[in-house]
């Protein structure tokens, strides 16, 4: 099995290297063949690993020793357990679909080989991240996916907006990574090792350890710092600002990286660290609050966006907030479950949006769309399936995972849980509204741009096939995995929950053991508040965008203050631009021009030189070259010396 573990990421890496270095020689077909074969192999191997793990074969072992310093051994190694296996399958499956889709989407792009090389490299990095058995390699993968994200957002490097967005994404992520790295520093300090198994085993012993001179628990500090990393990567408020801008990148990577996989790395990481987070209620409450704010307030922004990709991006932010809340409520399994279902339906939504975008020759503004259902039936239907899953229609995958989260928060005893519960419940209404708004504006009504509409046609099979293949799990995975993942012992020891935190167990108590859990959730959920709010949002969207299309404009005028706040995304970008970007440059300029140029160089260095020059220019006057001047000076000197000697 160890060979299989190793081959899974390496298959992708080989593809990336070959397509990257020899892209010109092997041509377009060569490049997509080699990378797609790589990721296909990785997917098949991941399935094998998944089945093997389900049969109880776990693995934890090193691959090689990265470094040794002061007795600490830093290793590269794999931990293969239930959590890893789920992530591997999700990542490689979505990546596989996106690879195929890219053949169609990037058909005319001159950077075709480069693109395939990057996404294969991404898959490799992401696999190394999820398969890691220690914090160091986790950080490696963490930064590597950030690098590929940077490269891909700026893939069209001639576009000013794209290269501004990728720099922003990298820097905002780096802020998170700073926290993450310090968290790792804390782990090394406290535990003396970076190996998961050792750290998690020792964690309970250090649970009460406080920082010297304070009452703060080390565990709280470490968890908060690690979570700052998650906030960067998983785009939680206030480090969310990079994700909407990342939509400047080509759509396939919006689906793969900025919806399905990379942005969920933070969620995965916190779930992986559950043995630590469980020991700090402070950290869990912080997680709850951040997640709830993200889930609700980012969804609101989604209401007013006109760019089709940005609507989905804000939806992603909001859904990441849902997952984060699940973590805060100690319902890690529900968080990971939602991560999985979301990966399928959100990748589907993005790829479908991409299908629309290429049909309209790179038009992304929904105000120029409309009526497309007549010409793009497959895209339309699959996107509706994705939407039904996203808004949590009972029976669709998103329903099970999202409902489980809302219920779990409901049972959580944490002080912040009440707030989170309200935010998430209200969020379902907003989600339904913006999702249907997107569908209605894009596919229904009359075409608003006749010319673009007349040229639109359904995308080729390489594009629609991944849509269909993603639509299937968007519908069915809920039915299959609800029982084991949420209520069974699916995750085994890979997720640790303290009994007093176990919200999913409390949820399970309400199930009737005689019947299937999935059926019970549907039966129970259909009359619950979240589903009713979803239905309300759907109807309202239908009224506003189908029945009375003049209403949205009127409402925007009526509530123009709120509308503007949402349109400006709460002004966070402007604040950051003013305070951090411009502030940083101003301080830098101040340090440089005042500190370095004026003080150090001007006064200290050149000043010294000037003083020396001045002294010598004064002294030079004495050296006149006339003998009688010198003789006079000597006599004076002699006089002074004699006086001094005689008087003493």
């Amino acid at each position: 099995m160890e060979t299989i573990y190793l081959l899974t990421p390496l298959a992708c890496l080989v593809g990336a290297i070959v397509a990257g270095l020899f892209g010109k020689r092997i041509g377009r077909t060569g490049a997509h063949r080699v990378t797609i074969s790589g990721v296909a192999i990785a997917f098949l191997l991941s399935v094998i690993v998944f089945v093997d793990v389900m049969n109880g074969n776990l693995f934890n072992g090193p691959v090689y020793t990265w470094a040794v310093s002061e007795g600490t051994v830093y290793q590269i190694g794999f931990l293969i357990d239930e959590l890893t296996a789920v992530m591997m399958v999700v990542v490689t499956f979505v990546s596989f679909m996106v690879h195929i889709y890219t053949i169609g989407y990037m058909e005319e792009d001159p950077g075709y080989q480069r693109f395939f090389s990057y996404i294969a490299l991404f898959t490799f990095s992401m696999l190394m991240l999820v398969m890691s058995n220690n914090f160091l390699q986790l950080f490696f993968g963490w930064e590597a996916v950030g690098l590929v994200s940077y490269l891909l957002i700026g893939f069209w490097f001639k576009k000013d907006t794209a290269i501004a967005a990728n720099l922003k994404a990298f820097l905002v992520n780096r802020v998170g990574d700073l926290g993450f790295l310090l968290g790792i520093g804390g782990v090394l300090y406290l535990f003396g090792t970076l190996d998961y198994a050792d750290v998690f085993a020792a964690a309970p012993d250090f649970a009460g350890e406080t920082m010297p001179g304070t009452e703060t628990l080390w565990m709280t500090l470490i968890c908060l710092l690690l979570f700052v990393g998650a906030m960067g990567k998983s785009a939680q408020v206030p480090l969310h600002v990079w994700l909407p801008d990342s939509m400047e990148g080509p759509t396939p990577i919006s689906a793969l990286i900025h919806a399905a996989t990379m942005v969920t790395a933070g969620i995965f990481m916190v779930a992986r660290m559950s043995p630590l987070f469980e020991l700090s209620d402070t950290a869990l409450n912080f997680v709850l609050v951040i997640g709830a704010i993200t889930a609700f307030f980012m969804a609101l922004v989604g209401l007013v966006q006109n760019d089709i990709k940005r609507v989905i991006a804000y939806s992603t932010l909001s859904q990441l907030g849902y997952m984060t809340v699940a973590l805060g409520a100690s319902a890690y399994a529900a968080g990971i479950f939602h991560l999985g279902t979301h990966a399928f339906f959100k990748a589907l939504l993005f790829l479908a949006a991409g299908s629309v975008i290429i049909a309209l020759h790179h038009e992304q503004d929904m105000r120029h769309m409309g009526g497309l259902r007549r010409v793009m039936p497959i895209t339309w239907i699959t996107m509706i399936i994705g939407t039904l899953a996203l808004i949590g229609t009972p029976g669709f995958s998103g329903f099970f995972s999202k409902d489980a989260i809302i219920e779990a928060v409901h049972y959580s005893q944490q002080p912040a849980a009440k707030f989170a519960h309200i935010a998430l419940t209200a969020g379902t209404f907003v989600t339904a509204f913006y999702s249907w708004r997107l569908i209605f504006l894009t596919f229904h009504g009359e075409p608003r741009d006749r010319e673009k509409f007349d040229h639109a046609k359904e995308s080729p099979w390489v594009v629609t096939l991944p849509l269909i293949l993603l639509a299937i799990p968007s519908v069915i995975v809920g039915w299959i995995f609800v029982e084991p993942m949420l209520f069974g012992d699916f995750f085994g020891s890979s997720i640790v929950v303290r009994p007093e935190h176990d919200t999913l167990a409390r949820l399970a108590e309400h199930n009737d053991p005689g019947h299937g859990a999935a059926w019970q959730m549907v039966a129970h959920g259909i009359l619950a508040l979240p589903v009713l709010l979803t239905a309300l949002g759907t109807v309202l969207a239908w009224i506003m965008y189908i029945v009375r299309p003049d209403l949205p404009g009127k409402l925007a005028g009526r509530f123009s203050a709120i509308y503007k706040i949402l349109l400006n995304k709460y002004g966070i970008d402007e604040f950051n631009e003013f305070f951090f970007a411009r502030g940083g440059r101003n301080i830098g300029n101040f340090f440089w021009r005042i500190g370095d140029v004026k003080l150090i160089d001007g006064i200290m260095v050149n000043g010294t030189a000037r003083v020396v020059g001045w002294v010598s220019s004064v002294v030079r006057h004495i050296q006149t070259g006339y003998v009688y001047h010198y003789a006079f000076a000597m006599i004076i000197g002699l006089f002074v010396l004699m006086t001094w000697f005689l008087s003493s």
Partner: protein, 491 residues
């Protein structure tokens, strides 16, 4: 006297330099180039056994040679290497090959003299890292300034005279105090052997004064805030090869000096004054990074970036833990590759457009895609991306700093953001975007010669990032001993 392997590594390039000088005028430049390349490669090859034959289990000096030089003052030609100097010697011989290749077609005037200066400097720098006798050390230390002075003064830019004099005065002033310190230590111990200095008991006042003397010499070389302003000027005026050697190796002399002299000879003063050194290091990391952010000249930006990165070296050293010192050492070696590579990248652009201003470029990726890919790698390495050598040192130092004081780690960690900000912002303005002007439109992508030297450095950056184990492995024994020395009071 010159029988040992180590002596060959010192004197062969110097001999080669003299032979290259003898080829004379520019008519025979091709011969001078070929000879220089041959000598630099040969020196690199004979330096490899220093690594392969190195005994990692001992902290004692290896490949030692000792013979009397000036018997009256018991000055010896005494050389040898340990886990601290050996990696720096190999770095020197490796980078000299790179620099010779990089100067191949670029230097059109006084080619023989240019190449010879680098070869002679190589020998002297290896001498600095190998000397065990303080006087010998001092001779190499000062001698190495002369070729660098000439390189900047003759092949440099428009304002080269100001830069060379600033460079020379700064470093000379520092070294003179070091000489005084040597004389005092000789007076106390009756020997110029550095290892005898290590064992010499010293009172607190003496230690403090000696520390200040050494500190002045080494802080200027590193350079540390606030004696750093000579470096940006020197870099801007220096020819590409000069910048590479200056950043990659000469700055390391300062760090090396701390490890060879300050820490083991003056453990108590080191502890006493560590807070100041750490504070200056942290200022370098944060303040200089912000200064780097607003530079408009690429070479100045990289020079400031160097100062900021060297802050990790001094920070790591003055934590006095094995992890910190090894982190600082790794940072020195890695910075040799990365800063060298970045200066070469600027050189590649400068040779074509004759401007170092960021504003003169834009959209270089359109016309030089291969170059853009190389520079991306080096920019990311400069930003400390895991998987590149730039990460290893910073990672070890930040983690070591965390153990001492969490705020040290927080301030040092800001480099994750600032380092990425200034490097990638420059990259964005130079490489990305539409083709900015006719100069950029007319650019030709890197030649096979340029690909060769960039690939050599890229390979090192990646190897060291993905597997730093062998680099660290050779240091352990020496660093362990050093940690014991610095944590044992002499009072």
């Amino acid at each position: 006297m010159f029988g040992g392997l180590l002596s060959w590594v010192i004197w062969l390039p110097i001999l080669g330099g003299i032979i290259v000088l003898a080829t004379g005028s520019d008519e025979r430049a091709p011969l001078a180039r070929k000879l220089s390349l041959a000598f630099s490669i040969l020196t690199f090859l004979i330096s490899i056994p220093l690594y392969t034959g190195f005994d990692t289990s001992t902290a004692a000096m290896q490949f030692g040679e000792k013979s009397i030089w000036v018997s009256t003052f018991s000055i010896y030609y005494h050389i040898g290497i340990d886990g601290i100097s050996m990696p720096l010697i190999i770095l020197t011989t490796f980078l000299t090959v790179v620099v010779v290749i990089a100067g191949w077609e670029v230097i059109k005037e006084k080619t023989a003299q240019y190449m010879a200066a680098f070869l002679i400097m190589e020998g002297l720098m290896v001498g600095v890292f190998s000397a065990i006798d303080a006087v010998l050390f001092y001779v190499f230390w000062e001698g190495m300034l002369i070729p660098m002075f000439l390189i900047i003064g003759i092949w440099g830019g428009a304002n080269r005279i100001y830069a060379t004099i600033k460079f020379f005065l700064y470093t000379l002033l520092g070294s003179l105090l070091m000489l005084v310190a040597f004389l005092y230590l000789y007076h106390q111990s009756g020997s110029f052997n550095i290892l005898d200095f290590h064992a010499l008991p010293l009172g607190m006042t003496a230690q403090t004064l000696l520390f200040i003397a050494f500190f002045t010499a080494f802080a200027v070389k590193v350079p540390m805030f606030p004696v750093h302003t000579w470096l940006p000027d020197a870099h801007v005026e220096a020819p590409t090869g000069g910048s590479v050697i200056l950043a990659a190796i000469m700055l390391k002399m300062g760090g090396y000096g701390f490890l060879r002299f300050s820490l083991p000879i003056l453990p108590d003063a080191s502890h006493e004054l560590a807070t100041i050194v750490i504070a200056l290091s942290l200022i370098a990391i944060v303040y200089i990074a912000l200064v780097a952010l607003v530079q408009q000249d690429m070479k100045k930006l990289i020079a400031y970036s160097s100062i900021s990165h060297m802050g990790f070296v001094t920070l790591g050293f003055f934590i006095f833990s094995g992890q910190g010192i090894e982190g600082g050492m790794v940072q020195m070696i890695s910075h040799g590759f990365i800063s060298g590579a970045l200066f070469l990248c600027v050189g590649v652009l400068y040779d074509r457009v004759h401007s170092r201003e960021i504003a003169s470029y834009g959209g270089v990726a359109n016309t030089m895609p291969v170059f853009a890919a190389f520079m991306m790698l080096f920019a990311m390495a400069n930003a400390g991306l895991p998987g590149t050598s730039g990460f290893v040192g910073e990672f070890l130092v930040i983690l070591a700093a965390f153990k001492v004081n969490i705020w040290y780690a927080v301030l040092a960690g800001t480099t994750l953001v600032f380092g990425a900000a200034y490097t990638l912002w420059m990259y964005k303005r130079v490489i990305f975007g539409e083709v900015a002007n006719d100069d950029v439109a007319a650019l030709e992508d890197v030649s096979p010669r340029e690909i060769l030297f960039l690939s050599l450095l890229a390979a090192m950056v990646l190897i060291m990032g993905l597997w730093p184990y062998p680099f660290l492995d050779v240091m352990h024994a020496t660093v362990d001993q050093l940690v014991t020395q610095v944590n044992t009071s002499k009072l």
